[in-house]
Amino acid sequence: MAVKNFVVGLFDDEAVLFPAVKKVRTAGYKLHDVYTPFPVHGLDHAMGLRETSLHTAGFIYGITGTTTALSFMSWVFNVDWPLNIGGKPHFPLPAFIPITFELTVLFAAVGMVMTFCYLCQLMPGVKKHIFHPRQTDDKFVMVIELTEKTNAEEVKNFLAAAGAKDINEQKAEAGWWFGRYDKEDEFYTRQIQTANA
């Protein structure tokens, strides 16, 4: 679990945030993340994030559902227990369609949500560092990671020039953990001390 140094800039409006994101990239600072209270369209492109492949995963889960349903029903009616139900054929494809469709949707939906949670590291009780309590309310928070090469003051001045309102420095656990959110949390403080030592 790595504790890192960050410079955090607070923006009031996404219209100011956008050009700032572009400037950070041209300036070559290490952009840790941008936190927004709602999905800002195009911000992922401005940050240079890769397009998500969640759709592909969904497609794969879907066809898994289709094959599971079709092969299972065929196996039951033709191999495991071939029972004559009202003289109907053992492989009645049209009658299999409803369940096949439902299982396709079910597999795709459940699989995608689970993949989404896995990729975003979301789970009941997971804790992550909140850089600003209003990042889920009305503020747009840009977080720049400090490396050996970057100067904190320089980054702060840069953010101020780009239109950030409240600029501060934070030491934070960049990953995720289970536990409480409080700053007094023992796990949390211990990590900071070891980082300072």
Partner: protein, 478 residues
């Protein structure tokens, strides 16, 4: 940035001058405060109904299905009527959240959260009816295909009743996932605002550790869009499959190919009526008139008048086919036992409530009148309940064998069970309105700039200039 130009003629989706923080305040502060008196009154009435329902169900399970007034002729009565009705109610929620998302309808953001919650609670109510109807409910697991210890006796995959099992359970699961994934960001907002430790803990667990990271939003959007794409055919399939329960049979009045589209339209019709009933109460009690505007209600009333007319068209088609098809049984069912006959009154209630009264929504004044909408929403719900009753009971009570013809009226456990599901539905909805954000906060924020009142005011500057100029200025704002 995704700021699109909208016509000045289009009314704002959020009334009042709001900024992002004000939106959060308006929607989340009811959760943080104490509920009002009305909430307690409503909640305890619902709990009482739920208790009565539980007692009725206990009575039925203890003494057997015989306590219901079903007989050899009428094997499906109130139970399946209520099942189909409740499933239908659920459809508006998925329609609003999925189909309208795909069609980029901005007005869905104000109502989708409550509508999706309604879907989930309605499907919970619906599922109980076929299960309790089985009689020996402890054997309900027989409907699931699993390798059992009594030899490999499998379920019949050719049976529409089994398709129902898959359709309803899939529908419930997918709706729940769609609803909850949309709730994550809003739970995070409540968590980060929380003043008490308990609230922080509970909403912290519920928020799954959401932070609002751009990458997460990107995946979240992709997820919502694909789930919407999956739910869209699902909405249509679920009620189609429910209609197969009837359409694949040989009973006159059931055995018709028009059933799937007719059932789906009816489901959306009754679902939107229930959304109206709930939202008119919710916006009043939680003071959300600025978010659930008259514009929203008008849009939903348009859907009601459309689907109501589709349903009316289907009724007339059925009558036409009963005459034109020259099948004497079919003709008698429709013209002698439905439109006339001992249960004929239910047919005329259905016709009045579903076909005639919704036509008031052709008038804009009526569509934008809260009282008219509220009364209409209840009338439509009654009408749609009678539609299912008419389909089931007036087809069964005069069967092929005149010696078995009978009449049907429900017994108290049947009525009590139905009341009980109302209790469950409203208990869940009251808890939802108290502890969950009833409006999708993050989604409202994302349309605030393009469709809020303040945006419209900013646009007044451009009124004399061209739309192109405005669009250009917005596109080059940064």
């Amino acid at each position: 940035m995704h700021l699109k130009y909208e016509s000045t003629l289009r009314e704002p989706l959020v009334d009042g001058v709001k900024d992002y923080h004000q939106v959060t305040e308006d929607i989340i502060s009811p959760i943080e405060g104490k509920p009002g008196k009305l909430w307690y009154v409503g909640f305890f009435i619902s709990l009482a109904l739920l208790g009565f329902g539980a007692f009725s169900v206990f009575w039925q399970i203890y003494f057997g299905v015989g306590v219901w007034n079903l007989n050899k002729t009428i094997g499906w009565g109130w139970d399946i009527t209520n099942f189909v009705w409740w499933v239908g109610i659920g459809h508006a929620g998925t329609l609003i959240s999925a189909i309208l998302l795909l069609f980029r309808q901005g007005w869905r953001t104000g109502v989708n959260r409550a509508a999706e919650a309604m879907t989930i609670f309605a499907v919970m109510c619906a599922g109980q009816f076929p299960i309790i109807h089985m009689g020996r409910v402890w054997m309900a697991f027989f409907i699931l295909p699993y390798p059992n210890t009594r030899g490999p006796v499998w379920v019949n995959f050719n049976s529409p009743l089994l398709w129902d099992v898959f359709a309803i359970s899939t529908y419930f699961t997918v709706s729940l996932l769609f609803w909850y994934s949309g709730l994550l960001p809003d739970f995070a907002t409540i968590r980060d605002r929380a003043k008490t430790k308990l609230r922080k803990l509970l909403y912290g667990v519920a928020a799954f550790g959401w932070t609002g990271s751009t990458k997460h939003w990107q995946r979240h959007e992709a997820l919502s869009l694909v789930l919407a794409g999956l739910s869209t055919p699902l909405v249509l399939s679920v009620h189609t499959i429910v209609s197969f329960d009837f359409a694949t049979s040989v009973i006159p009045g059931w055995h018709t190919t028009i059933f799937p589209p007719y059932f789906v339209a009816g489901a959306i019709f009754s679902g939107f009526a229930m959304v109206q009933t709930l939202l008119i109460i919710t916006r009043k009690i939680l003071h959300l008139e600025e978010y659930i505007t008259l514009g929203h209600m008008e849009a939903m009333n348009k859907v009601i008048v459309l689907t109501g007319s589709v349903v009316g068209c289907a009724y007339l088609t059925e009558l036409f086919m009963a005459w034109y098809g020259a099948n004497p049984y079919e003709f008698d069912t429709f013209f002698k036992y439905r439109a006339a006959g001992p249960l004929g009154w239910s047919y005329w209630i259905m016709m009045t409530c579903n076909v005639i009264t919704p036509q008031v929504f052709w008038f804009r004044k009526m569509r934008r009148n809260v009282m008219v909408t509220f009364v209409m929403s209840i009338i439509v719900n009654i009408g749609m309940w009678f539609e299912r009753f008419v389909i089931i009971c007036t087809s069964l009570y005069r069967d092929y064998l005149p010696s078995s013809w009978s009449y049907y009226r429900p017994s108290w456990p049947e009525v009590g069970f139905y009341m009980g599901t109302f209790g469950l539905f409203f208990t869940c909805f009251f808890l939802f309105a108290k502890y969950f954000p009833v409006i999708a906060v993050a989604e409202i924020k994302s349309i605030l700039k393009t469709s809020g009142q303040n945006y419209k005011e900013k646009m007044e500057v451009y009124e004399e200039e061209s739309a192109e100029k405005f669009a250009h200025d917005v596109a080059h704002a940064h």
